[in-house]
Subunit: 207 residues, 2 copies
Protein backbone atom coordinates (compact mmCIF):
# COMPACT_ATOMS: atom_id res chain seq x y z
CA UNK A 1 0.00 0.00 0.00
CA UNK A 2 1.41 3.35 -1.03
CA UNK A 3 1.35 5.99 1.75
CA UNK A 4 -1.13 8.83 1.35
CA UNK A 5 1.70 11.35 1.88
CA UNK A 6 3.52 9.90 -1.14
CA UNK A 7 0.45 10.40 -3.37
CA UNK A 8 0.20 14.01 -2.13
CA UNK A 9 3.85 14.59 -3.03
CA UNK A 10 3.26 13.23 -6.54
CA UNK A 11 1.19 16.38 -7.18
CA UNK A 12 4.10 18.48 -5.95
CA UNK A 13 6.56 16.68 -8.27
CA UNK A 14 4.06 17.07 -11.11
CA UNK A 15 3.76 20.82 -10.59
CA UNK A 16 7.53 21.31 -10.23
CA UNK A 17 8.34 19.24 -13.32
CA UNK A 18 5.86 21.33 -15.33
CA UNK A 19 7.77 24.45 -14.27
CA UNK A 20 11.06 22.85 -15.33
CA UNK A 21 9.56 22.04 -18.74
CA UNK A 22 8.50 25.72 -19.03
CA UNK A 23 12.11 26.70 -18.19
CA UNK A 24 13.47 24.34 -20.91
CA UNK A 25 15.32 22.13 -18.41
CA UNK A 26 15.77 18.60 -19.80
CA UNK A 27 17.47 16.74 -16.93
CA UNK A 28 17.00 17.07 -13.16
CA UNK A 29 18.80 15.16 -10.37
CA UNK A 30 16.84 13.89 -7.36
CA UNK A 31 18.85 16.30 -5.16
CA UNK A 32 17.88 19.31 -7.33
CA UNK A 33 14.20 18.28 -7.39
CA UNK A 34 14.35 17.74 -3.62
CA UNK A 35 15.91 21.16 -2.96
CA UNK A 36 13.27 22.92 -5.08
CA UNK A 37 10.57 21.35 -2.89
CA UNK A 38 12.31 21.53 0.54
CA UNK A 39 12.47 17.71 0.67
CA UNK A 40 15.37 15.25 1.01
CA UNK A 41 16.64 13.46 -2.11
CA UNK A 42 16.09 10.16 -0.20
CA UNK A 43 12.41 11.06 0.09
CA UNK A 44 12.15 11.83 -3.64
CA UNK A 45 13.85 8.57 -4.64
CA UNK A 46 11.77 6.55 -2.17
CA UNK A 47 8.50 8.08 -3.42
CA UNK A 48 9.32 7.37 -7.05
CA UNK A 49 10.55 3.84 -6.31
CA UNK A 50 6.96 2.79 -5.53
CA UNK A 51 6.12 3.31 -9.19
CA UNK A 52 9.05 1.83 -11.05
CA UNK A 53 12.51 2.72 -12.26
CA UNK A 54 12.92 6.28 -13.57
CA UNK A 55 16.27 8.07 -14.40
CA UNK A 56 19.76 6.54 -14.18
CA UNK A 57 21.53 7.13 -10.85
CA UNK A 58 24.45 9.25 -12.01
CA UNK A 59 22.60 11.00 -14.83
CA UNK A 60 19.39 12.28 -13.17
CA UNK A 61 15.83 12.11 -14.46
CA UNK A 62 14.62 13.04 -17.95
CA UNK A 63 12.13 15.81 -17.05
CA UNK A 64 9.61 15.23 -19.85
CA UNK A 65 9.71 11.46 -19.46
CA UNK A 66 9.22 11.62 -15.67
CA UNK A 67 6.39 14.14 -16.05
CA UNK A 68 4.50 11.99 -18.53
CA UNK A 69 5.00 8.89 -16.30
CA UNK A 70 3.66 10.75 -13.27
CA UNK A 71 0.67 12.01 -15.29
CA UNK A 72 -0.16 8.40 -16.22
CA UNK A 73 0.21 7.27 -12.58
CA UNK A 74 -1.99 10.11 -11.33
CA UNK A 75 -4.44 9.35 -14.09
CA UNK A 76 -4.31 12.88 -15.49
CA UNK A 77 -2.85 11.87 -18.83
CA UNK A 78 -6.38 11.48 -20.13
CA UNK A 79 -9.34 13.68 -19.32
CA UNK A 80 -11.08 13.31 -15.98
CA UNK A 81 -14.78 13.96 -16.27
CA UNK A 82 -16.18 15.99 -13.35
CA UNK A 83 -19.67 16.99 -12.20
CA UNK A 84 -20.17 20.17 -10.15
CA UNK A 85 -23.00 20.47 -7.62
CA UNK A 86 -23.82 24.11 -6.78
CA UNK A 87 -23.52 26.97 -9.26
CA UNK A 88 -23.16 29.59 -6.53
CA UNK A 89 -20.19 31.91 -5.91
CA UNK A 90 -17.72 29.11 -5.28
CA UNK A 91 -19.07 26.90 -8.04
CA UNK A 92 -18.77 29.70 -10.58
CA UNK A 93 -15.18 30.46 -9.46
CA UNK A 94 -14.32 26.79 -10.05
CA UNK A 95 -16.01 26.84 -13.48
CA UNK A 96 -14.03 29.89 -14.52
CA UNK A 97 -10.66 28.54 -13.39
CA UNK A 98 -8.42 27.69 -16.36
CA UNK A 99 -6.03 25.72 -14.14
CA UNK A 100 -8.34 22.71 -14.12
CA UNK A 101 -8.54 22.10 -17.86
CA UNK A 102 -4.77 22.69 -18.19
CA UNK A 103 -4.22 19.69 -15.94
CA UNK A 104 -6.75 17.39 -17.57
CA UNK A 105 -9.87 18.09 -15.47
CA UNK A 106 -13.05 19.03 -17.35
CA UNK A 107 -16.28 20.03 -15.66
CA UNK A 108 -18.76 18.17 -17.90
CA UNK A 109 -21.98 18.78 -15.96
CA UNK A 110 -23.36 21.42 -13.55
CA UNK A 111 -26.31 20.87 -11.21
CA UNK A 112 -28.24 23.28 -9.02
CA UNK A 113 -31.62 23.40 -7.19
CA UNK A 114 -32.34 27.10 -7.78
CA UNK A 115 -34.89 27.71 -10.64
CA UNK A 116 -33.09 31.03 -11.41
CA UNK A 117 -29.91 29.08 -12.29
CA UNK A 118 -31.34 25.99 -14.03
CA UNK A 119 -31.15 26.34 -17.84
CA UNK A 120 -28.63 29.18 -17.61
CA UNK A 121 -25.27 29.03 -19.42
CA UNK A 122 -22.16 29.20 -17.19
CA UNK A 123 -18.84 29.30 -19.07
CA UNK A 124 -20.37 27.32 -21.95
CA UNK A 125 -22.22 24.66 -19.90
CA UNK A 126 -25.99 24.61 -19.26
CA UNK A 127 -26.96 24.22 -15.58
CA UNK A 128 -29.23 21.19 -15.03
CA UNK A 129 -31.71 20.44 -12.23
CA UNK A 130 -30.22 18.31 -9.45
CA UNK A 131 -33.20 15.97 -9.88
CA UNK A 132 -31.68 14.84 -13.23
CA UNK A 133 -28.25 14.17 -11.73
CA UNK A 134 -28.48 10.45 -11.13
CA UNK A 135 -29.38 9.78 -14.79
CA UNK A 136 -26.77 12.20 -16.22
CA UNK A 137 -23.80 11.07 -14.04
CA UNK A 138 -24.06 7.56 -15.50
CA UNK A 139 -24.60 8.75 -19.10
CA UNK A 140 -21.59 11.10 -19.07
CA UNK A 141 -19.27 8.59 -17.30
CA UNK A 142 -18.45 11.08 -14.53
CA UNK A 143 -15.47 10.07 -12.33
CA UNK A 144 -15.35 12.90 -9.74
CA UNK A 145 -18.06 15.05 -8.10
CA UNK A 146 -17.30 18.49 -6.66
CA UNK A 147 -19.71 19.60 -3.92
CA UNK A 148 -20.17 23.37 -3.47
CA UNK A 149 -23.67 23.51 -2.01
CA UNK A 150 -24.83 24.91 1.35
CA UNK A 151 -24.50 22.76 4.51
CA UNK A 152 -28.16 21.77 4.63
CA UNK A 153 -28.11 20.34 1.10
CA UNK A 154 -24.96 18.22 1.44
CA UNK A 155 -26.50 14.92 2.59
CA UNK A 156 -29.01 14.71 -0.25
CA UNK A 157 -26.31 15.55 -2.83
CA UNK A 158 -23.90 12.93 -1.43
CA UNK A 159 -26.68 10.31 -1.63
CA UNK A 160 -27.23 11.09 -5.33
CA UNK A 161 -23.48 10.99 -6.08
CA UNK A 162 -22.89 7.68 -4.28
CA UNK A 163 -26.03 6.01 -5.71
CA UNK A 164 -24.90 6.87 -9.24
CA UNK A 165 -21.58 5.05 -8.70
CA UNK A 166 -19.21 8.00 -8.54
CA UNK A 167 -16.36 7.02 -6.17
CA UNK A 168 -14.46 10.32 -5.71
CA UNK A 169 -15.74 13.50 -4.06
CA UNK A 170 -14.11 16.92 -3.62
CA UNK A 171 -15.97 18.51 -0.72
CA UNK A 172 -15.91 22.27 -0.09
CA UNK A 173 -18.51 22.30 2.67
CA UNK A 174 -17.35 22.29 6.30
CA UNK A 175 -19.28 19.06 6.99
CA UNK A 176 -17.49 15.74 7.40
CA UNK A 177 -19.12 13.41 4.87
CA UNK A 178 -20.27 9.97 6.05
CA UNK A 179 -19.56 7.59 3.15
CA UNK A 180 -18.59 3.92 2.69
CA UNK A 181 -14.93 2.92 2.55
CA UNK A 182 -14.98 2.54 -1.21
CA UNK A 183 -15.77 6.24 -1.70
CA UNK A 184 -12.82 8.60 -1.54
CA UNK A 185 -13.42 12.12 -0.14
CA UNK A 186 -10.99 15.02 -0.18
CA UNK A 187 -12.09 18.13 1.68
CA UNK A 188 -10.88 21.67 1.13
CA UNK A 189 -10.59 24.07 4.01
CA UNK A 190 -8.86 27.41 3.55
CA UNK A 191 -9.08 28.08 7.28
CA UNK A 192 -6.18 25.72 7.96
CA UNK A 193 -3.96 27.83 5.74
CA UNK A 194 -5.15 31.00 7.52
CA UNK A 195 -4.22 29.41 10.86
CA UNK A 196 -0.72 28.70 9.60
CA UNK A 197 -0.40 32.30 8.41
CA UNK A 198 -1.66 33.52 11.77
CA UNK A 199 1.00 31.41 13.52
CA UNK A 200 3.81 32.78 11.36
CA UNK A 201 2.64 36.37 11.66
CA UNK A 202 3.17 35.99 15.43
CA UNK A 203 6.39 33.91 15.19
CA UNK A 204 8.29 35.33 12.21
CA UNK A 205 11.51 33.51 13.17
CA UNK A 206 9.92 30.13 12.37
CA UNK A 207 9.35 31.06 8.73
CA UNK B 1 12.96 26.09 14.71
CA UNK B 2 9.62 24.30 14.65
CA UNK B 3 9.06 22.20 11.49
CA UNK B 4 6.48 23.48 9.02
CA UNK B 5 4.74 20.07 9.12
CA UNK B 6 4.22 20.46 12.87
CA UNK B 7 2.48 23.83 12.39
CA UNK B 8 0.24 22.24 9.73
CA UNK B 9 -0.71 19.49 12.18
CA UNK B 10 -1.61 22.07 14.83
CA UNK B 11 -4.59 23.01 12.63
CA UNK B 12 -5.56 19.34 12.47
CA UNK B 13 -5.39 19.00 16.30
CA UNK B 14 -7.37 22.25 16.59
CA UNK B 15 -10.15 20.99 14.31
CA UNK B 16 -10.31 17.56 15.99
CA UNK B 17 -10.37 19.04 19.54
CA UNK B 18 -13.24 21.29 18.48
CA UNK B 19 -15.18 18.22 17.40
CA UNK B 20 -14.44 16.53 20.75
CA UNK B 21 -15.76 19.61 22.58
CA UNK B 22 -18.95 19.38 20.47
CA UNK B 23 -19.24 15.71 21.49
CA UNK B 24 -18.83 16.63 25.21
CA UNK B 25 -15.58 14.71 25.60
CA UNK B 26 -13.47 16.16 28.43
CA UNK B 27 -10.27 14.04 28.35
CA UNK B 28 -8.39 12.59 25.38
CA UNK B 29 -5.22 10.45 25.41
CA UNK B 30 -2.48 11.10 22.84
CA UNK B 31 -3.17 7.60 21.40
CA UNK B 32 -6.89 8.41 20.91
CA UNK B 33 -6.13 11.78 19.32
CA UNK B 34 -3.51 10.11 17.10
CA UNK B 35 -5.92 7.36 15.96
CA UNK B 36 -8.60 9.93 15.08
CA UNK B 37 -6.10 11.67 12.76
CA UNK B 38 -4.25 8.58 11.40
CA UNK B 39 -1.05 9.66 13.15
CA UNK B 40 1.17 7.95 15.71
CA UNK B 41 0.88 8.95 19.36
CA UNK B 42 4.65 9.61 19.31
CA UNK B 43 4.05 12.20 16.58
CA UNK B 44 1.29 13.89 18.60
CA UNK B 45 3.42 14.03 21.77
CA UNK B 46 6.44 15.27 19.84
CA UNK B 47 4.45 18.05 18.10
CA UNK B 48 2.97 19.29 21.36
CA UNK B 49 6.30 19.11 23.21
CA UNK B 50 7.58 22.06 21.11
CA UNK B 51 5.05 24.27 22.86
CA UNK B 52 5.26 23.23 26.49
CA UNK B 53 3.86 20.60 28.85
CA UNK B 54 0.23 19.61 28.29
CA UNK B 55 -1.67 16.85 30.10
CA UNK B 56 -0.29 14.29 32.54
CA UNK B 57 1.18 11.09 31.04
CA UNK B 58 -1.24 8.54 32.49
CA UNK B 59 -4.32 10.79 32.55
CA UNK B 60 -4.44 12.21 29.01
CA UNK B 61 -5.10 15.80 27.91
CA UNK B 62 -7.87 18.10 29.13
CA UNK B 63 -9.63 18.79 25.80
CA UNK B 64 -10.80 22.37 26.51
CA UNK B 65 -7.47 23.35 28.06
CA UNK B 66 -5.45 21.94 25.16
CA UNK B 67 -7.76 23.59 22.60
CA UNK B 68 -7.41 27.02 24.20
CA UNK B 69 -3.61 26.62 24.44
CA UNK B 70 -3.41 25.69 20.76
CA UNK B 71 -5.63 28.65 19.83
CA UNK B 72 -3.22 30.97 21.64
CA UNK B 73 -0.20 29.36 19.94
CA UNK B 74 -1.83 29.64 16.51
CA UNK B 75 -2.82 33.19 17.36
CA UNK B 76 -6.50 32.55 16.72
CA UNK B 77 -7.58 33.26 20.29
CA UNK B 78 -8.04 36.88 19.29
CA UNK B 79 -9.40 38.20 16.01
CA UNK B 80 -7.20 38.18 12.94
CA UNK B 81 -7.91 41.12 10.72
CA UNK B 82 -7.91 40.23 7.02
CA UNK B 83 -8.07 42.24 3.76
CA UNK B 84 -9.52 40.66 0.62
CA UNK B 85 -8.31 41.69 -2.85
CA UNK B 86 -10.82 40.77 -5.60
CA UNK B 87 -14.60 40.74 -5.09
CA UNK B 88 -15.19 38.31 -7.97
CA UNK B 89 -16.72 34.83 -7.77
CA UNK B 90 -14.06 33.43 -5.46
CA UNK B 91 -13.83 36.57 -3.35
CA UNK B 92 -17.58 36.58 -2.76
CA UNK B 93 -17.55 32.86 -1.83
CA UNK B 94 -14.88 33.66 0.78
CA UNK B 95 -16.87 36.62 2.09
CA UNK B 96 -19.99 34.49 2.50
CA UNK B 97 -18.20 31.63 4.30
CA UNK B 98 -19.20 31.47 7.97
CA UNK B 99 -16.31 29.11 8.78
CA UNK B 100 -13.83 31.99 8.87
CA UNK B 101 -15.46 34.10 11.57
CA UNK B 102 -16.15 30.96 13.64
CA UNK B 103 -12.39 30.44 13.86
CA UNK B 104 -11.41 34.03 14.59
CA UNK B 105 -10.82 35.38 11.07
CA UNK B 106 -12.66 38.55 10.08
CA UNK B 107 -12.54 40.08 6.62
CA UNK B 108 -12.30 43.76 7.56
CA UNK B 109 -11.70 45.31 4.13
CA UNK B 110 -12.47 44.44 0.49
CA UNK B 111 -10.69 45.95 -2.52
CA UNK B 112 -11.44 45.72 -6.24
CA UNK B 113 -10.49 47.57 -9.44
CA UNK B 114 -13.86 47.24 -11.19
CA UNK B 115 -15.99 50.45 -11.00
CA UNK B 116 -19.14 48.26 -11.04
CA UNK B 117 -18.06 46.71 -7.70
CA UNK B 118 -16.52 49.70 -5.90
CA UNK B 119 -18.97 51.23 -3.39
CA UNK B 120 -21.16 48.11 -3.43
CA UNK B 121 -22.07 46.26 -0.22
CA UNK B 122 -20.95 42.62 -0.02
CA UNK B 123 -22.10 40.76 3.09
CA UNK B 124 -22.12 44.00 5.09
CA UNK B 125 -18.78 45.42 3.89
CA UNK B 126 -18.38 48.22 1.32
CA UNK B 127 -15.96 47.43 -1.52
CA UNK B 128 -13.16 50.03 -1.79
CA UNK B 129 -10.94 50.99 -4.73
CA UNK B 130 -7.61 49.15 -4.75
CA UNK B 131 -5.92 52.58 -5.06
CA UNK B 132 -6.92 53.27 -1.42
CA UNK B 133 -5.51 49.97 -0.15
CA UNK B 134 -2.10 51.11 1.05
CA UNK B 135 -3.65 53.77 3.32
CA UNK B 136 -6.45 51.50 4.63
CA UNK B 137 -4.26 48.43 5.40
CA UNK B 138 -2.25 50.50 7.89
CA UNK B 139 -5.28 52.22 9.44
CA UNK B 140 -7.17 48.97 10.03
CA UNK B 141 -4.10 47.07 11.37
CA UNK B 142 -4.56 44.28 8.79
CA UNK B 143 -2.47 41.13 9.51
CA UNK B 144 -3.31 38.90 6.50
CA UNK B 145 -4.14 39.64 2.83
CA UNK B 146 -6.15 37.22 0.69
CA UNK B 147 -5.48 37.53 -3.05
CA UNK B 148 -8.32 36.48 -5.39
CA UNK B 149 -7.60 38.61 -8.44
CA UNK B 150 -6.83 37.52 -12.04
CA UNK B 151 -3.28 36.48 -12.97
CA UNK B 152 -2.39 39.73 -14.68
CA UNK B 153 -3.23 41.83 -11.58
CA UNK B 154 -1.28 39.78 -9.03
CA UNK B 155 2.06 41.59 -9.15
CA UNK B 156 0.61 45.05 -8.56
CA UNK B 157 -1.55 43.77 -5.67
CA UNK B 158 1.41 41.98 -4.03
CA UNK B 159 3.45 45.23 -4.24
CA UNK B 160 0.70 47.16 -2.43
CA UNK B 161 0.35 44.48 0.27
CA UNK B 162 4.10 44.22 0.93
CA UNK B 163 4.65 48.02 0.88
CA UNK B 164 1.93 48.47 3.51
CA UNK B 165 3.74 46.11 5.90
CA UNK B 166 1.39 43.10 5.77
CA UNK B 167 3.57 39.99 6.24
CA UNK B 168 1.11 37.14 5.50
CA UNK B 169 -0.56 36.34 2.17
CA UNK B 170 -3.12 33.68 1.20
CA UNK B 171 -2.77 33.33 -2.57
CA UNK B 172 -5.47 31.77 -4.73
CA UNK B 173 -3.93 32.58 -8.07
CA UNK B 174 -1.85 29.95 -9.86
CA UNK B 175 1.18 32.25 -9.91
CA UNK B 176 4.15 31.67 -7.62
CA UNK B 177 4.61 34.97 -5.75
CA UNK B 178 8.11 36.48 -5.58
CA UNK B 179 8.41 38.05 -2.11
CA UNK B 180 11.16 38.68 0.45
CA UNK B 181 11.93 36.07 3.10
CA UNK B 182 10.07 38.00 5.80
CA UNK B 183 6.74 37.66 3.95
CA UNK B 184 4.89 34.37 4.41
CA UNK B 185 2.82 33.07 1.48
CA UNK B 186 0.43 30.13 1.57
CA UNK B 187 -1.07 29.16 -1.79
CA UNK B 188 -4.30 27.27 -2.38
CA UNK B 189 -4.62 24.90 -5.28
CA UNK B 190 -7.62 22.62 -5.56
CA UNK B 191 -6.05 20.83 -8.50
CA UNK B 192 -3.70 18.90 -6.20
CA UNK B 193 -6.70 17.44 -4.42
CA UNK B 194 -8.28 16.56 -7.77
CA UNK B 195 -5.09 14.74 -8.76
CA UNK B 196 -5.18 12.69 -5.59
CA UNK B 197 -8.82 11.80 -6.27
CA UNK B 198 -7.91 10.88 -9.82
CA UNK B 199 -5.16 8.57 -8.52
CA UNK B 200 -7.49 6.80 -6.08
CA UNK B 201 -10.28 6.44 -8.64
CA UNK B 202 -7.80 4.38 -10.70
CA UNK B 203 -6.22 2.53 -7.73
CA UNK B 204 -9.10 1.91 -5.30
CA UNK B 205 -7.03 -0.58 -3.28
CA UNK B 206 -4.73 2.23 -2.05
CA UNK B 207 -7.61 4.04 -0.35
N1 LIG C 1 -13.83 25.41 2.54
C1 LIG C 1 -13.85 26.71 2.65
O1 LIG C 1 -12.95 27.32 3.21
C2 LIG C 1 -15.06 27.43 1.99
C3 LIG C 1 -14.98 28.74 1.52
C4 LIG C 1 -16.10 29.27 0.88
C5 LIG C 1 -17.28 28.52 0.77
N2 LIG C 1 -17.33 27.26 1.28
C6 LIG C 1 -18.50 26.40 1.21
O2 LIG C 1 -18.82 26.16 -0.16
C7 LIG C 1 -20.23 26.02 -0.28
C8 LIG C 1 -20.72 26.95 -1.37
O3 LIG C 1 -20.44 28.29 -1.04
P1 LIG C 1 -21.00 29.51 -1.93
O4 LIG C 1 -20.44 30.76 -1.41
O5 LIG C 1 -20.79 29.20 -3.37
O6 LIG C 1 -22.57 29.42 -1.61
P2 LIG C 1 -23.77 29.92 -2.54
O7 LIG C 1 -24.97 30.00 -1.67
O8 LIG C 1 -23.34 31.09 -3.33
O9 LIG C 1 -23.97 28.68 -3.57
C9 LIG C 1 -24.57 27.49 -3.24
C10 LIG C 1 -25.33 26.95 -4.46
O10 LIG C 1 -25.83 25.65 -4.18
C11 LIG C 1 -27.13 25.56 -4.71
N3 LIG C 1 -27.87 24.47 -4.09
C12 LIG C 1 -28.62 24.49 -2.95
N4 LIG C 1 -29.14 23.27 -2.72
C13 LIG C 1 -28.71 22.46 -3.73
C14 LIG C 1 -28.93 21.08 -4.03
N5 LIG C 1 -29.67 20.27 -3.28
N6 LIG C 1 -28.34 20.58 -5.15
C15 LIG C 1 -27.60 21.37 -5.95
N7 LIG C 1 -27.38 22.69 -5.71
C16 LIG C 1 -27.92 23.21 -4.60
C17 LIG C 1 -27.73 26.93 -4.48
O11 LIG C 1 -28.85 27.15 -5.31
C18 LIG C 1 -26.54 27.83 -4.82
O12 LIG C 1 -26.50 28.16 -6.20
C19 LIG C 1 -20.84 26.28 1.11
O13 LIG C 1 -21.07 25.06 1.74
C20 LIG C 1 -19.73 27.01 1.84
O14 LIG C 1 -19.76 26.75 3.23
C21 LIG C 1 -16.24 26.72 1.84
N1 LIG D 1 -6.53 27.76 -6.77
C1 LIG D 1 -7.56 27.35 -7.46
O1 LIG D 1 -7.75 26.13 -7.59
C2 LIG D 1 -8.53 28.39 -8.04
C3 LIG D 1 -9.87 28.11 -8.30
C4 LIG D 1 -10.66 29.16 -8.76
C5 LIG D 1 -10.11 30.43 -9.01
N2 LIG D 1 -8.79 30.64 -8.78
C6 LIG D 1 -8.12 31.91 -9.00
O2 LIG D 1 -8.69 32.91 -8.16
C7 LIG D 1 -8.65 34.16 -8.82
C8 LIG D 1 -10.04 34.77 -8.81
O3 LIG D 1 -10.95 33.94 -9.49
P1 LIG D 1 -12.46 34.42 -9.77
O4 LIG D 1 -13.20 33.30 -10.39
O5 LIG D 1 -13.03 35.04 -8.52
O6 LIG D 1 -12.23 35.57 -10.85
P2 LIG D 1 -13.17 36.83 -11.14
O7 LIG D 1 -12.74 37.37 -12.45
O8 LIG D 1 -14.60 36.49 -10.91
O9 LIG D 1 -12.75 37.87 -9.97
C9 LIG D 1 -11.58 38.60 -9.97
C10 LIG D 1 -11.85 39.98 -9.35
O10 LIG D 1 -10.60 40.68 -9.20
C11 LIG D 1 -10.85 42.04 -9.55
N3 LIG D 1 -9.60 42.70 -9.88
C12 LIG D 1 -8.97 42.75 -11.09
N4 LIG D 1 -7.83 43.48 -10.98
C13 LIG D 1 -7.75 43.89 -9.68
C14 LIG D 1 -6.79 44.66 -8.94
N5 LIG D 1 -5.71 45.17 -9.50
N6 LIG D 1 -7.02 44.89 -7.63
C15 LIG D 1 -8.13 44.38 -7.01
N7 LIG D 1 -9.07 43.65 -7.67
C16 LIG D 1 -8.87 43.40 -8.98
C17 LIG D 1 -11.84 41.96 -10.70
O11 LIG D 1 -12.48 43.20 -10.88
C18 LIG D 1 -12.77 40.86 -10.21
O12 LIG D 1 -13.81 41.36 -9.42
C19 LIG D 1 -8.08 33.92 -10.20
O13 LIG D 1 -6.71 34.23 -10.21
C20 LIG D 1 -8.25 32.43 -10.42
O14 LIG D 1 -7.25 31.91 -11.24
C21 LIG D 1 -8.02 29.67 -8.28
Amino acid sequence: KIPDATIKRLSLYNKQLRRLVDENIDIVRSKELADLLSLTSTQVRKDLSYFGKFGRRKKGYDVKLLLSSLCKILGVASDNRIALFGAGNLGRALLGYKGFSERGFCIEAIFDADPEKIGKNFFGKICMPVSDAEKILGEKDIKIAIIAVPDDAVDSVVDIVVRSGVKSILNFTPRRLQVNNDVMVRSVDFTDKLEQLSYFSRHPMDN
